[in-house]
Subunit: 139 residues, 3 copies
């Protein structure tokens, strides 16, 4: 077994989802690993990762609406407002989703389902540079 | 270290939980791995995985009731209704739970807590065939 | 590649968060692994793990308030009340967060973001002993 590690920086445009599936598949391909496990980890507490339906963009706008209602910006219950009304909601949204996702590798690629895409979900309204580490373990 | 990979197909009966602990334990046993990590990954966006209390089935019916209220079928906020009123709720429920779970292996078995069982949670009302990949890394 | 496994027991003081970052970093350091993946797994269904902002404790009190409102103790919808009004809410809170978290290792340490700390979140009101397994894979 071998290990390979790589890093990507994703420039977000504020609250939205950015598909990173092809970047991850490229790292797995370059690693030369045909079978194993690929871990994707985001080094932040106000952006997160989701494996989401990748065919109809409405799924992601519906998801955004649902989560915005569940964790409202400017919620009076939140005391942590240092960076504005979307500061604490971003942390909650991150905790209710994923910071670390492991995907099996088969045939030299992340073996995703037909409708699965991997997305970075920026939870802050401002644009950010988000750092992601990809760790590939396998043979 | 060695790697072993296997796949299972679970036939669900519509929205419900199906315990898959024994299937996963069998794959780990067959792999001959005594210590390491077992990753379980579901290749879908409208079914997911949970590690849940495995003694009292009421825990899972309470959980179903809670999540059904949190993400109601037919919610008028959802625009993605191609496959019916449970389509978008299934995606949200998947994202709020797990698609990928890693469990330590010790003594040739997944080292679960006394009350932990691994369940596939079907979020659609119709029965489906769900594909799961199990990746075992260890020695 | 090599594998290393260790266990820690955390004594909680009832519903609250306990930072375990330094315990995990110590295990990774002792393993002698410079690059790879560290999995942290909690063997329980009423306590969980979160990667949370580690600078302002208000983030965690806001998070507690949010989740307590979302999943109220004593909710009349819950039938599983064997161990009291916080029994079923503890299971739901566990399922909405993480039982297993994998973190990349770089330079002999878990490569966390500047503001990321790993916390055990006790969801029961009573104090408990919580068992965590740390699995380190790498070189």
């Amino acid at each position: 077994m071998q290990m390979h590690s790589d890093e990507i920086i994703v420039a977000t445009h504020g609250r939205s989802t950015t598909e990173i599936t092809s970047e991850i598949q490229s790292i797995v391909a370059r690693s030369g690993t045909s079978a194993g496990l690929c871990n994707v980890f985001i080094h932040h507490t106000s952006a997160s990762l989701i494996l989401c339906e990748n065919a109809d963009p409405t799924v992601r706008s519906d998801l955004e609406r649902f989560v915005s209602d569940l964790v409202p910006d400017g919620d009076a219950r939140f005391a942590h407002v240092d960076e504005g009304p979307d500061d604490m909601p971003a942390h909650v949204r991150s905790i209710l989703t994923q910071v670390s996702v492991s995907i099996p590798i088969s045939g030299g690629r992340c073996s995703l389902g037909t409708w699965q895409g991997l997305y970075l979900w920026e939870h802050r309204h401002a644009a950010h540079q988000r750092r992601i580490t990809v760790t590939v373990l396998g043979e």
